[in-house]
């Protein structure tokens, strides 16, 4: 049922085991519930535990302590592994490490083929997935000749062809130019809105995090903030003390407030910021 969380962690703890047996704790009691259809961004400095958390969402990593449920399934239940991987797809930073075939449509078909989907249905799924990411025209192209943004969209199509309910993306735009970033973000947002796919986006780009419905901030293996982006980003000093930033529009409004100008800090986008400033500058005193 739609009331059941798609992802839930309870007191999730994770330690890497090293040769010397010293085990630094990467996740320290993380409890979190993500419901179907949410678009959640996760921020945190390098080493804050956000990628480790993401890898628990489709059982690439298993908890050292606590529990993870994916659509109600315990991630430690080996019999459920395939179901879990079907439910939650992952997209990583480097598109070149995720593409396996020499033709785009064959790459997208790789997942469903491995699931043993009948070939007529594979055709249908591949076509639908490529259409969903706007890459239909490139179905017969060689992936290595595509741009970074296009490759990432093919990687997303490959995940979509598995018909997941949730996609987890770990810094999918870090290696892309501005157009590539926009292509990927627009694609993610559309899938979330139109197909109601749950999205978990891990990113270092504050302007990308600002586009989510919910923003989680990780620090030293803990969740330190979890709220709407416009609320989280009001805590400018707090975020900076964690080595993070705020979107440029918020940073400007913050500077103005420091200079004694009464403006709200809630404008995350260029348009919202322009709106706030217009009001400020055009009211007759």
């Amino acid at each position: 049922m739609s009331d059941q969380p798609i992802l839930r962690t309870e007191h999730l703890t994770f330690r890497y085991t090293t040769e010397e047996g010293v085990a630094p704790t990467v996740l320290d009691g993380v409890s979190l519930t993500i419901r179907p259809g949410e678009f959640v961004a996760v921020l945190g400095h390098n080493g804050s535990g956000k990628s480790t958390l993401a890898k628990h969402f489709n059982a690439i990593l298993l908890p050292s302590g606590g529990k993870v449920w994916v659509d109600g399934m315990d991630s430690c239940d080996e019999d459920k592994l395939l179901d879990i991987r079907r439910r939650v797809g992952m997209v990583f930073q480097n598109p070149d490490n995720q593409i396996v075939a020499s033709v785009v449509e064959e790459d997208v078909a790789f997942g469903p083929e491995n699931l043993g989907v009948p070939s007529a249905e594979i055709r249908e799924r591949v076509d639908a997935a490529l259409a969903a990411v706007g890459m239909t025209d490139y179905a017969r192209h060689a992936p290595h000749l595509l741009s970074g943004g296009q490759k990432q969209r093919v990687a997303i199509a490959g995940v979509l062809a598995m018909r997941p309910r949730c996609i987890v993306l770990d810094e999918p735009t870090a290696m892309l130019d501005p157009v590539g970033r926009k292509e990927v973000l627009d694609t993610i947002r559309r899938l979330n809105r139109e197909q109601n796919i749950t999205v978990v986006l891990i990113t270092h780009h504050m302007d990308e995090a600002a586009q989510a419905d919910r923003l989680i901030v990780m620090h030293d293996g803990h969740i330190v903030a979890d709220d709407k982006p416009e609320l989280v980003f009001q805590n400018v000093d707090g975020l900076r003390s964690l080595g993070l930033e705020v979107p440029e529009p918020v940073a400007l409004l913050y500077e103005l407030r420091q200079a004694g100008v009464d403006v709200p800090l809630t404008a995350l986008t260029v348009d919202e910021c322009a709106g706030v400033l217009k009001e400020l500058l055009c009211i007759v005193p």
Binding site: S147, P178, H204, M206, G243, P247, E248, L252, A259, L281
Partner: protein
Amino acid sequence: MGAIIETKQLTHTYSQGTPFEHTALDCVDFSASRGEYLAVIGRTGSGKSTLIQHLNGLLKPTAGQVLFDGADIWESKDRTRQVRCQVGLVFQYPEYQLFEETVYQDIAFGPKNMGLDRDEVDRRVKQSARFVGLEPGVLEKSPFDLSGGQKRRVAIAGVIAMEPQVLVLDEPTAGLDPSGAARILDNIRTYHQEKNACIILVSHSMEEVAREADRLVVIHRGAIPFSGTPERVFTHGEELEAMGLGVPAMTRVFARLRSMGVDLPASVYTIPQAREAVLAALHRREEH
């Protein structure tokens, strides 16, 4: 100020004479002066990587010239070798290129290959470690035990240790969190100022180049359609947008306000400038 490095009518064609022939650079005139902080912006595939690989002789021009200090870098084998030490190139994700057993040895690799004596190598390793903010204790560690941001600083230190007069960095902040990115940019600025070195920064972040660079060079389809101060380059908003680049968020905020009829300067591209412009406008309003 004379150019320390320049290209004259530089053309580079990949796979010439095959069906895959592709001209990545077409008669490009590029120059950078001693002590200048320059940023190169362009889409993936625009030719910017091809250009920077010519600057220290990793690629050889199909036609045209690359000059260092006024002389062709391909003049002789010795000259090419010399230039490779004078023009340091830091690739994207340089942390994947670390290979030595200790951080010290990794940073020492370049200067050792230059044939410097042990004391000089030692001085340079310590100095470049300081430049990138690595604690002395880190030097004896294995580079593979460090965090991502630290590894990247080790890789940059390895290039800085050759004390190049021109330091070229291809997206040095990609994949780093904001404070990690800020630290690397600080390190680069310190090197720039203390050594009066020429910096060539390749970046996809318009906000970053707006803050850091004195001059921007735009590369599009193997040519340089415009270059100049950030202020001048960012007035070409629509063209940049069409090239897949865009302008910084602050420039967009101010363009939006101007289109709504608010009287503000067009030359704003950083947060401090935006702050000043808004405060000045408020002040003017109060006087009326």
